[in-house]
Each structure stands twice: as structure tokens, then as C-alpha cells.
Amino acid sequence: MNCVVEGNCVKAFGKAIHALSRIGDELWLDPSVKGLALRSMNSAHSAYACFFFSPLFFQHYSPGSVSEQGTETMTCKLVMKSVLSLFRCLASIERTVERCQISVGTPKDRVMIQFFCRHGITKTHNLYFQESEALQAVFASHLCPNVLKAPARLFGDMVMHFPVSQEEITLSMSPLSVSLKNYYEGGDDHMKTICTEMSLHPDEFDYFQFGGDSDITFCLKELRGLLSFAESHSLPVLVHFGTPGKPVCFSVEDMVLEATVVLATLIGSESRGPSQPTETPAQTPLRCAVIPVGSRKADSDKSLDIPAMTEMVASSQGSPIFNPDVMMQLLPHIDDSHILDVPAEACASATTTPASSMICSLLFRAVSSEQDDDGCAARLPVLACYSDTEEEMEEDCTRSPSL
């Protein structure tokens, strides 16, 4: 892959990297005939971002190297910190860089990023990458009942009321208002934290589609990068969401690029106030990490075109998820008692038909290819829980989904 980004666009590219760095520690660089996608996901798999640049964005763009014409292009997984350090100071990039060339494949294990700067200076950086399966969240935004659209500035004004350290906020939509409040988990801290709430009238939005009362809680920190990107380009932001537990999608687009951030939302965030006792001593609701990630096939759009698959994705809250080791390390709220096998109900719904079981396996293949299928799939921790079956959470599952 070889592409050249010209002067002004280098700053936009850098800003995209800044936004992605808020999400995860690794950057997936995914070139294809349609354009270059930069993606990242956080370790808990509860936040995903994708910045997609069409060939028009580049001064020059060629996705695959000549010798590999017939094969799939390679997806490179890079360490975010390394890439971010190259684009860290956007002001100086704007001043000095005339163009930036990114090439993958020569030699095979390196991504070469070259900055051609003023005064004839060329800076060349070689970053080693790991070849990887492409990362792509499967999210059917057209199925979301609630939609908001507004200039980035409006969202910026909304979130500025919350301190930068605020982790999570709750967005509520009703026919007469849209409101944001900060979300705090119970405990002693709530005596000292400010509770902030702000609400707007639907008229303030460019587009307001009310599909049902909804209060979703998601991580604000991960979103700020996209909002700042959108504000710097004066782009409107689209928000798609549904009921609590389902992911929320923020997207911006213009003629040459599209950016999407998909965040998991807490399940039943409203119904579970600090006064309601839960089953377990740890009061925090389980975070629902329901960003189903599919392995990308040659045509990346296909996964969204199959209606049956997207229906499955949108409704199945019981999707067992990914690398159990990663999950167990990086989710501090969840202790062993919460880690369950998939309850029988979910297995049943996931595997009723041969077609759906095949789809399940397609969804999971990206991950399970790296593990042994020796039954440890049966003990994948379920992080996506469903709020109405809390009492059953303690049950062991005897049946495992067939993968």
C-alpha cells in the first residue's frame, strides 16, 4: 500500500490519529480498494472507532503492491503510542510538513511514514507492525430507533459542562428534550462529586428522531476525540442509539472521509440506582461489551448487507465475546463470580437454525482462530448481560454454543 497525503490534509490525518488514540492502544491500518481505514478498539471491547479515508483524500493512493494484485491487502496492527508520537504536535506539522507518505509492504514487516518538510528535510519513520485480521464492528445504525444530528459545536457545548475527568455520562431522550447527566457509581465518592445535568429542546438539533424513551450511559472520555475532530472540521455529528445495553454510534462524514465511534452502553442504567440492591456485593452494573466484531471479508460491506446477520447482531445481547484472558484481566469491575458461561437461553436463541449458528461462527471466527477449540469456548465469559435475567446469572450453563 502506498499513499501520499498532501499538506493541509496531514493535519486532519493527525487529528484522526489523536481521536483514535483516545480509544485504544493499538491502531489497525486497513487499506482497501475503497480507501484507507484506521481503526482502534479499547481493550475491554467496549469502544471502537474507525476513520475511513476515501482515495479522494489522498494526493495519491494505491492500495496494494503490484505483485499482490489478486490477493487481499494486508491489515497492519501498529502500536498507537508510536504512531501518535509522530503526529503529536499538530501545530508544527501544519507549519512544516509539505506532504506525508505512508507505505506498507516494502520491506514486508514495516510501515514507512515519511514527512517531506520545508527546507528539503525528509523525516522517515519505520514502524514495525503485526499482521492481523481486520477489525470491524458490525453495527446496524439504520435499525436504531433514536437518531440525533447536530453541528459538532452543539455537542461540544453540551459536554463542556462536564469535567474532563468525567468518565461516563447518561444521554436521555424524550419527546420533549434531550438531556445529559453525569453518571456516578455508588459509594462514598458520590458525596463529593458534583452532579450535573443539562437539557436541550429538540429544536436545537438539525435532526431529531424519537424512537422511544431511552437513557443510555456510555464513556464520555472515549468520545471527546471524535467531537474535537468534528469541531475542527465543522462537521455535523450523527448519533444513533436504541435501548440501554445496545451500542451507541457517533459518526461524522464529509466528501472524503467518514469517522465512526461505537461505544457500548450500560445495561439498565436507569433502573439500577444506588438504592436498589443487586445480587452481588459489588454494586457496579456489569458493563455490556457488546460490540460484535466480525472478521472482514474481501468486500467489507457484505457483513452489513446480510439482513439476517444484522438482525442477529442488533438483538442478541447474549453474544459471548472474545479472548477470555484479555477480558478477565482488563475488566476490573468483574470478579470471577460474574464470569459465566453462556446461559442456556442465549445458546438456544443463537443456535436455533443452522443458518444462525453459521452466522454466530462467522462473527466469532476472528477471535476463536487464535484460541484452541478445545472447549474453552464453552467458558467464554459473558460480559454482555441481559438485565431481566439477573437472578439466573448464577446458574451454570451446561450447553455451550457450538462454534
Binding site: I194, E197, L200, H201
Partner: protein, 285 residues
């Protein structure tokens, strides 16, 4: 107990926010006393603060358009709350463009000062923002700890040089020593001195002027009046405390002065039109 205030004027809101921001830089927590005429931010000198105490007085009429309060009882028509000024400051900063800001004492999950504002927007309906800042109500039996400090029987009182100049000097001296001696006399001369094994540095100020306290200040009329004008009164203080005081100041006061009780206390007074701030730093040996 009830409290409800409303600020409509943008300049008042701005000024109020700046005062609270200054207080937030001086201390993490302090007591807010509300009376029918004034608001006081009080920090009582305790060992935990290093003996530093603060008294900041605001006249409510200069800030609030509407102000209603009902204290604990009719004889004790006051409310005493423990607050974290930084929370108040943060909440107020986000509503600087508001048409009106209401501050009320409410009870949510705990007693709170609720700051509610209406922000102007393009459409006809305003945006509403509320911040609930948790506070602690201070029981009446502890109120005696937060009384107005009496003016100490000082030896010398002198106007301060511009705070910015002082801050620059103190910042640099801090790199050399932990303790600073402030001394002044009735001739308008002031020195800032540090002394270590390796180095001693003194900054001299002249022609500062001495406030005409006259007879009110020194009750017994004796020592102050017959004091030799060249005689320096000094106080050796922890330099970080002085630096913290100077760092927080955001607005140039109309009058700034300090009173020194020889080897006991450094008493700093800043007067703006509608706010007065007093800060006491105890002297160390």
C-alpha cells in the same frame, strides 16, 4: 433552613466566579457562612492547614439580584456549610454566558448547593443546566470556630507592593529556601529575606506607605504610637504558604496591605470594592 439567590448581571457573575476561584486556590475545603447581608468564606486555623486561616467577606447586595435566606432559627439567622470551593468554581465557570444563575440550598442525595442556569440559544427555548454541588451542614455548636477573626494587635502595618511583583520574587526565593522572613517598618520599608547556609538574599521595597489605622488599631495606644519608625517587625513564615496565597490572586485589589505581629503572625489583607479577603499565616521559629 432555606437559601435562594439569583445573579442576573454578567459582570457580577464573572466577579463572583473569580472570587470563588481565588478561594479554591487557597484551600481545598472551607466553610461558607450565609447571613442576610453577607457571604463569608472561612477557613479556621487548624494544625491540618498549617495554622493558616482565611476570612473572605462579600456583601451579597453587590452580587445577587435576589437573595433570600432563612437561617437555622430566628436568633441564629445564619447558615453554615462546609463546601469544596473548587466544585463551586467549576460549576460557575460553565455557566458564564447564562442569562440568569440561581443558587439554592437543596437536598438531593445529600445537602447540595444547586447552581441552575439558563443558557441562551438560537432557538426560543433555553438550555437548562444544573449542577448539584454537595455540601455539609455545620451544626450550630461548631459555629464558634468560624467567627470573624479579631484584628491582631500588630506591630507594623504596611501597604504591599504589587502582588505580581511579590509573586515573582517569592517564586524565585522558593527555589532557595523553605522559609522566608517578611519584615517591615512604619517608614514604608519592607524586606523579604531568605537565608541558607550557602546564600542569603534580600529584596528591599521602599516608599510603600503605611495605612493610617490611627488609634482604632492599637487599643492600648502605647507601643504602636511610640514605635521607632525604622524599627522592623518581622515574621518568618513557610514560603509555600505565602506562595499559595499569591498564586491564587486573579484580580488586582484596590488595596492590599499586611500587618505584622512581631514573630507571631503575618496578616495579609486584600480589599476590592465589594470583597475583602484576610489571610493569616503564623510565624515559625
Amino acid at each position: 433552613m432555606k437559601f435562594r439567590g439569583k445573579i442576573v448581571d454578567i459582570a457580577c457573575l464573572n466577579h463572583f466566579t473569580r472570587v470563588i476561584t481565588t478561594i479554591s486556590k487557597l484551600t481545598k475545603m472551607c466553610v461558607l457562612r450565609l447571613t442576610p447581608d453577607n457571604l463569608y468564606f472561612v477557613l479556621s486555623g487548624k494544625v491540618a492547614n498549617g495554622g493558616v486561616s482565611m476570612w473572605c467577606e462579600l456583601s451579597q447586595a453587590n452580587f445577587f439580584d435576589e437573595y433570600q435566606m432563612e437561617g437555622v432559627s430566628s436568633e441564629a439567622n445564619e447558615i453554615c456549610l462546609e463546601v469544596t470551593p473548587e466544585n463551586l468554581s467549576r460549576a460557575l465557570k460553565t455557566v458564564q454566558s447564562a442569562k440568569a444563575v440561581k443558587i439554592k440550598l437543596t437536598k438531593k442525595h445529600c445537602p447540595c448547593l444547586t447552581i441552575a442556569a439558563e443558557l441562551p440559544t438560537m432557538s426560543s427555548i433555553n438550555r437548562v443546566v444544573t449542577h448539584d454541588v454537595p455540601v455539609d451542614v455545620i451544626p450550630r455548636r461548631l459555629w464558634h470556630e468560624f467567627k470573624e477573626p479579631s484584628m491582631p494587635d500588630f506591630d507594623v502595618s504596611i501597604y504591599l507592593p504589587p502582588l505580581k511583583t511579590l509573586k515573582n520574587i517569592v517564586d524565585r526565593m522558593k527555589n532557595l529556601s523553605n522559609f522566608l522572613v517578611v519584615e517591615a517598618n512604619l517608614n514604608g520599608e519592607m524586606n523579604l529575606k531568605i537565608e541558607t547556609d550557602l546564600v542569603s538574599v534580600t529584596t528591599h521595597f521602599k516608599d510603600l506607605g503605611n495605612p493610617p489605622w490611627g488609634d482604632d488599631a492599637s487599643q492600648d495606644g502605647g507601643p504602636s504610637q511610640s514605635r521607632d519608625p525604622d524599627d522592623m517587625a518581622q515574621a518568618r513564615v513557610d514560603i509555600r504558604k505565602l506562595q499559595q496565597f499569591l498564586m491564587g490572586q486573579q484580580v488586582n485589589p484596590s488595596k492590599s496591605m499586611c500587618n505584622i505581629v512581631h514573630q507571631r503572625i503575618l496578616h495579609l489583607i486584600l480589599l476590592h470594592e465589594d470583597v475583602s479577603l484576610q489571610y493569616f499565616i503564623p510565624a515559625v521559629a
